[in-house]
């Protein structure tokens, strides 16, 4: 398998595209494809300020790197969840994020320390709420709220996350298995700002396989945290990814078509937003929109302390 652009030995073969590329041409292609997704989905323009959600993992650091290389004004936000679990997971992932920022003088990293700000780390909140083994739904709620808060307070135009096609396809697979129509309505690479306190959200890597974002970080020598969050073991999303990869192995492109044809169907009107969307009002405490009566779910989390 030779590089399609120069004929040297390929470093990565992407069977779904029938495309092999070498160590020089893969990163070039990767940047071009990201730019194309940003443009095709009208995610953001060069004049806009982008906030990148940084976890210290490969996808988020690759996204930050690519956006800076493409000349976008991109800052990072890292949410320190205070997860230790005997492996200093949060501390080590924060170090990776900080090390990346230190190497890129144009990039600013905003760190949100949940324990410091709200008095409890994620494991502590989960413990109090009797969910010590499965803190993920609480963690997700906190991350979404805090990223949105930082984006709005910092005057950013858009919040970008490093979700790749495997992430999106696994989510789609789970949503289809349970026919969660409400989630299917809201799954898309661009979610517009609502003008009432929800920032625009974009996923510029949504067409890359996870293997490709990993290859980019490897080739570029970006140091990321290879370990998983200790609470991710046994997550259904991992099982879905494995299932999809087995299908992909037998029929290259299966995973890609599953996701991209869903996007096409959505653009043609499938799972369009309901006309009678639930009524939102600003939370009296944090001002972020919520459908819950009175306080939003995030603020209620700390009320019960």
């Amino acid at each position: 398998m030779r590089c399609r652009r120069c004929g040297n030995p390929g470093a990565i073969n992407m069977r779904q595209h029938k495309l092999s590329l070498c160590l020089d041409h893969f990163p070039e292609w990767f940047l071009e494809q990201t730019q194309r997704a940003i443009k095709n989905y009208r995610m953001f323009a060069h004049a806009e300020r982008v906030l990148v959600a940084i976890s210290g993992g490969k996808d988020s650091l690759a996204l930050w790197d690519v956006l800076l290389k493409l000349g976008y004004q991109a800052d990072g936000v890292y949410i320190d969840l205070g997860i230790d679990h005997g492996s200093s997971y949060s501390a080590r992932s924060k170090d990776k994020a900080a090390a990346f920022a230190a190497q890129h003088p144009a990039a600013r990293l905003i760190v949100v320390d949940i324990l410091h700000l709200y008095g409890e780390s994620i494991p502590q909140v989960a413990q109090r709420r009797h969910r010590p083994q499965r803190p993920c739904s609480i963690c997700g709620l906190i991350k979404r709220h805090e990223m949105n808060r930082v984006a709005l307070e910092g005057g950013y135009d858009v919040l970008a996350t490093g979700h790749n096609l495997d992430d999106e396809a696994a989510t789609l697979f789970g949503n289809v298995l349970h026919w969660q129509v409400d989630y299917l309505r809201h799954q898309f690479p661009v979610l517009p700002a609502d003008g009432q306190g929800l920032a625009r959200k974009v996923k510029p890597f949504c067409r890359f396989y996870e293997r490709e974002t990993a290859a980019y970080t490897l080739i570029r020598g970006i140091d990321y945290i290879e370990d998983e969050c200790p609470y991710a073991t046994g997550a259904t999303s991992l099982a879905h990814k494995e299932t999809l990869n087995r299908m992909e192995h037998d029929s290259p492109g299966a995973k890609m078509h599953f996701y991209t044809n869903f996007l096409k169907a959505k653009e043609a009107g499938l799972f369009a937003a309901e006309e009678t969307a639930p009524e939102l009002h600003p939370c009296p405490q944090c001002r972020q929109p919520t459908s819950a009566p009175d306080l939003c779910n995030f603020c209620r989390l700390w009320e019960e302390k």
């Binding site: 398998m1 993992g57 974002t213 290859a215 490897l218």
Partner: protein, 62 residues
């Protein structure tokens, strides 16, 4: 060659392709990347007895 994958390792002293190695280890090429002597290589490449091989898992969850 010395092969490392997560916290496991193997020693192999015969020539084989990346694809053959992955098949032996029952790993899907879709779920991993293979790095030989510090450089990413594609599945058709040959591995030599002296090579230092690292298999990187690319699937993350959560």
């Amino acid at each position: 060659m010395h092969i490392v994958y997560r916290d496991k390792e193997w020693f192999v002293d015969q020539e084989l392709t990346v694809n053959q190695m992955l098949k032996y280890l029952k790993l899907l090429p879709e779920s991993v990347l293979v790095v030989r002597n510090g450089q990413l290589i594609a599945e058709d490449q040959k591995l030599q007895p002296g090579d230092e091989v690292k298999i990187v898992s690319v699937i993350s969850g959560g």
